[in-house]
């Protein structure tokens, strides 16, 4: 009863963070370098889950993806499958809630790289893509890593939206935060304590190792 929520949390968070890291980086790049109409509107849109209460975000998610949802209904009619009450829903909730942190961090990190370096790279014949991977990314590494850690821990602790979309089903969608909530609410204090300690331990370990990784980088 301790390991099930832990295993589920680790699975959900790993998949979610992988997706957040790539998607968030791409969006951060787009917002940092792009110049297109409605850009700041797009940026505000992505920041929305940060300012809304998670339950509200969860509500919008379920309106969108539930069996009678705008996207969920056609999917259900086509495949007979609905995302509600599945572990995929927990991943989606984690992504939606934690992605803004990654996007903001990535954007700031990329913007902080002196454009002079990128221009120098172009004069030396490197394409924009090569420049991004060889110059921009390494120089923005710290901010990007910070974004990944932030979104990882946010995803780990995600509760409100997860519950709305994925439900609280032990063995299937009951992640650590949900398990803790249920244990507290139903008076299982011992179990709640143990789960909370484990979750704290995992978070500390994750942040610690990431800090170690960035320790050796030079200040530019």
């Amino acid at each position: 009863m301790i390991w099930e929520p832990l295993k589920l949390s680790l699975l959900v968070v790993t998949v979610a963070t992988a997706i957040i890291a790539t998607l968030g980086l791409a969006l951060g790049l787009l917002l940092a370098k792009g110049r297109f109409p409605g850009q700041e509107l797009l940026a505000s849109f992505f920041t929305l889950p940060l300012v809304l209460p998670p339950t509200v975000s969860g509500y919008y998610l379920i309106v969108l993806l539930g069996r009678h949802g705008i996207i969920g209904e056609p999917v259900y009619n086509l495949t007979g499958w609905t995302v509600a009450f599945t572990w995929q829903a927990a991943v989606i909730a984690a992504i939606v809630l934690a992605l803004p942190l990654m996007v903001l961090s990535a954007r700031a990190a990329i913007e902080s790289v002196n454009p002079q370096f990128e221009i120098a790279s172009y004069t030396l014949g490197k394409s924009w893509l090569a420049t991004f991977f060889l110059i921009t990314l390494p120089l923005a590494r710290r901010g990007i890593l910070a974004g990944i850690v932030l979104s990882f821990t946010r995803a780990l602790g995600e509760f409100g939206a997860t519950f709305m979309l994925a439900g609280n089903i032990p063995g299937k969608t009951q992640t650590m935060p949900l398990a803790i909530y249920e244990a507290v609410i139903s008076g299982e204090d011992k179990r709640a304590q143990i789960l909370a300690l484990i979750l704290t331990g995992v978070s500390i370990a994750a942040v610690y190792f990431t800090t170690k990784l960035t320790k050796g980088t030079i200040r530019y």
């Binding site: 370096f117 221009i119 120098a120 172009y122 004069t123 030396l124």
Partner: protein, 234 residues
């Protein structure tokens, strides 16, 4: 072999907006673009490199058309074979000197090792082989300048652009470096376009001086005639 005839509207922090209208040619040797701050010399350099697009005009290097507003031609920065030495060198801080220099070496068929060898050879040529594994922040101004020049040359350019590269260097090192720039140009034999507001540098380096003032070419000629007849606005 370099022909520039461009116009561009600019915002200048000194005197409000003004128009750039530059026409000049550069052949062998070192051509000086001389002028005070805000005269448009750096913008001209950037236009040649492709960093900035003129409003109209034509830039050609030999047979190659870098920019032609009439045909809409506008070669990307990457495709122009131009080496650029920035005012603050812009050496990649996360790479060593030899990595910086090797960065621009195009020879894709060669293995990484041979690119490194060529980089090291260049650094040795500039007498800074001993700093090859150092990072830019651990090098002196003079060493950085030489590394930046080596890097620009490593990409096998048709033209080298230098944007006031010695402005951050003390007077003593400057004299030494000036000699090295001349020597380097003689060695590689491709045209250098050198931007400066310093008359000493201009006289020492240039076989050909183009004087810019508030966006237009005021005078063109050898250093002697230019600085004797030109009323110094300093």
């Amino acid at each position: 072999m370099l022909q520039v005839a461009i116009k561009k509207r600019l915002e200048s922090d000194k005197s409000g907006s003004f128009a750039l209208d530059i026409t000049f040619r550069a052949e062998e040797g070192i051509t000086i673009l001389f002028g005070q701050s805000g005269s448009g010399k750096t913008t001209t350099l950037r236009a040649i490199a492709g960093i900035v697009t003129p409003d109209s005009g034509r830039i050609t290097v030999g047979e190659e058309i870098y920019f032609d507003s009439e045909t809409g031609a506008n070669l990307s920065i990457q495709k122009r074979r131009v080496g650029y030495v920035f005012q603050d060198y812009a050496l990649f801080p996360h790479m060593t000197a030899e990595q910086n220099v090797a960065y621009g070496i195009k020879d894709n068929s060669a293995a990484v090792a041979s690119r490194m060898d060529r980089a090291r050879a260049l650094l040795t040529l500039f007498k800074i082989g001993h700093v090859r594994q150092r990072y830019p922040q651990n090098m002196s101004g003079g060493e950085q300048q030489r590394t930046a020049l080596a890097r620009a040359l490593a990409s096998d350019p048709a033209l080298v652009l230098l944007d006031e590269p010695l402005s951050a260097v003390d007077a003593e090192t400057r004299t030494q470096l000036l000699d090295e720039v001349v020597a380097a140009q003689e060695r590689v034999g491709i045209p250098f376009i050198y931007v400066t507001h310093n008359t000493v540098e201009a006289v020492r380096l240039g076989s050909h001086v183009v004087v810019l003032h508030e966006g237009t070419v005021k005078q063109v000629g050898g250093p002697a005639e230019v600085f004797n007849t030109f009323a110094n606005e300093r």
